[in-house]
């Protein structure tokens, strides 16, 4: 119990959530806000029940998840490969890196309509959007990670007459992993955003489509329900990456001894 006394937030945080829900419910029931604008939590719950009992719902969840993951994997792998080439071929980096930084700064969502034009209304345009948005953080984090090798460590490898390949595999790559994973975690969340935004623009299926459709139909309680599903999806994906990160980069919290 002393743990709770030391960390009152453990109790107060969920408690505040309940308080907000109760207030929200009260305000809505009292008629201060029209339920069509802000449906009470109980109505949102009904919406969730509707979604999860509907036979058409899982395929929307699945589609958005698939677009996100496929885009993330393609974007992430290409980004890591590009970064490796950039770090190893100086000239290539000098030519390409400025563009990478420029694209990183650009809000990629502006590309969504073009991608729909180029790749159609289906899954492809959403995947491309997810790739475009998840690509750059991984490139930059991988480059930064690979270049953060400590002077002493590379001196050690040089003193052992290690080959370039050995230096990369045994030193640079592991050194870069914490940074790469930081980039991947950001990217996975971004990939979900990319898929949803592309769905907003035009799509026949997917969670983003459900949000726009329900909004047009003024079924705000269902919009809220989908938003909750999307949030949980984002949390689950992030949680998986976090888990992977801790498994792979188990030494993260220890600094390089040197």
């Amino acid at each position: 119990m002393s743990k709770l006394r030391d960390h009152p937030g453990l109790v107060l945080s969920p408690l505040s959530f309940v308080v907000v829900l109760v207030l929200w419910e009260g305000v809505s029931r009292a008629g201060w806000v029209a339920p069509i604008v802000l449906p009470p939590p109980s109505r949102v719950w009904d919406g969730l029940v509707i979604l999860f009992t509907a036979s058409w719902f899982p395929q929307h969840v699945w589609l958005t998840t698939a677009e996100t993951l496929i885009g993330f994997v393609i974007g992430g792998v290409t980004a890591i490969l590009l970064a490796i080439v950039m770090v190893n071929v100086r000239l290539f980096k000098e030519v390409v890196y400025p563009y990478v930084v420029a694209f990183q700064v650009m809000p990629k969502v502006v590309l969504a309509p073009i991608f729909i034009t180029w790749f159609g209304f289906g899954m492809e345009s959403k995947i491309v959007m997810a790739i475009a948005i998840s690509f750059f953080p991984v490139v930059i984090n991988t480059v930064v990670g690979l270049e953060s090798v400590e002077e002493n460590a590379s001196l050690l490898m040089r003193s052992l007459v290690a080959s370039r390949r050995q230096i990369f595999c045994k030193l640079a790559w592991p050194t870069a992993l914490p940074s790469i994973f930081a980039g991947l975690k950001t990217s996975l969340t971004l990939a979900l955003i990319g898929a949803l935004v592309a769905e907003f623009v035009t799509a026949k299926e997917g969670l983003g489509t459900l949000i726009t459709t329900f909004s047009f139909e003024l079924k705000v309680y269902l919009v809220f329900a989908v938003i909750i599903v999307v949030s949980v999806l984002g949390l689950v994906l992030y949680g998986l990456m976090e888990y992977l990160d801790r498994k792979v980069v188990f030494w993260r919290r220890s600094h390089f001894t040197g």
């Binding site: 400590e150 460590a153 001196l155 050690l156 007459v161 050995q166 592991p174 992993l177 001894t257």
Partner: protein, 268 residues
């Protein structure tokens, strides 16, 4: 395992000998103007199996000289030969130890020690047994599977030392290896180095800014000065071996330390 390094068949009798001839090292400055002269006209001779210490203040180029011998830097002028052949880059008959342990945090102690074996492409199984023996010898028995972060600074340097010993190099270069450790640990490590050297008879070049440490450890002390970095004197240490801490009380020890101090101009 730590027996005197057996000369490789056909290797010259000079294995482990180091010759530094009129070596100058300039570091170019960033803006392209006249660089810094880290070393000027340095001559040093080190016989196989000798324990030599480079001592001097910061900026005297002692670490630079060590890196030049190890082939980690190229001299601007002059030449360096190791074991009879000119140094043209890093080489595997030289083991290097830095001030920081430079252990990889994703590798266990044993895996860190086996790093050179992997890089050299040697058979891992036999080396593992040898690595365990060495870890025993340096007092890290039972810590093979620990990660560097779980070790104290002294233990980390012991692991770094094991990583050098595992490849049996006839020459070991040590760049202030215990400079970051506390005095007590440092003294213990010095005794351990002497014990290991006594058995292995490697050529050891030991860089330090502690005069007492240099005199206590070495057969010869190369005293270096700054601006430009150069050799001020080479002093033979007349102390008997094997050495123990008691030796520090002896008048010979004090006299040698004082002699070094005089050359460094810090005795007055």
């Amino acid at each position: 395992m730590l027996r005197a390094h057996e000369p490789i068949a056909g290797a010259p009798a000079t294995t482990g000998a180091i010759e530094v001839r009129r070596v100058t090292k300039l570091f170019a400055s960033r803006n392209g103007s006249a660089g810094v002269e880290a070393l000027r006209d340095v001559d040093v001779d080190i016989r196989p199996g000798q324990f030599v210490a480079f001592v001097g203040p910061s900026g005297c180029g002692k670490s630079t000289l060590l890196k030049l011998i190890g082939g980690l830097l190229d001299p601007t002028a002059g030449r360096i030969t190791v074991g009879g052949s000119e140094v043209a880059g890093p080489r595997r008959d030289i083991g290097v130890m830095f001030q920081a342990p430079v252990l990889f945090p994703w590798r266990t102690v044993l895996e860190n020690v086996l790093l050179p074996i992997e890089v050299f492409g040697l058979e891992r199984r036999a080396a593992t047994e040898k690595a365990r023996q060495i870890l025993n010898l340096v007092g890290l028995a039972g810590r093979e599977r620990a990660y560097p972060r779980e070790l104290s600074g002294g233990m980390q340097q012991r692991a770094a030392l094991s990583r050098v010993l595992v490849i049996d190099p006839p020459i070991i270069l040590m760049d202030e290896p215990f400079g970051a450790l506390d005095e007590f640990t440092r003294e213990r490590m010095n005794l351990e180095i002497l014990r290991i050297w006594q058995e292995g008879r490697q050529t050891i070049v030991f860089v330090t800014h502690s005069i007492a440490e240099a005199v206590f450890l070495a057969d010869r002390v190369v005293v270096m000065g700054t601006a430009p970095g150069r050799v001020l004197a080479v002093i033979d240490v007349p102390l008997p071996r094997p050495r123990s801490i008691d030796l520090m009380k002896s008048p010979e020890f004090a006299a040698t330390v004082f002699e070094v101090r005089e050359y460094l101009g810090v005795a007055r």
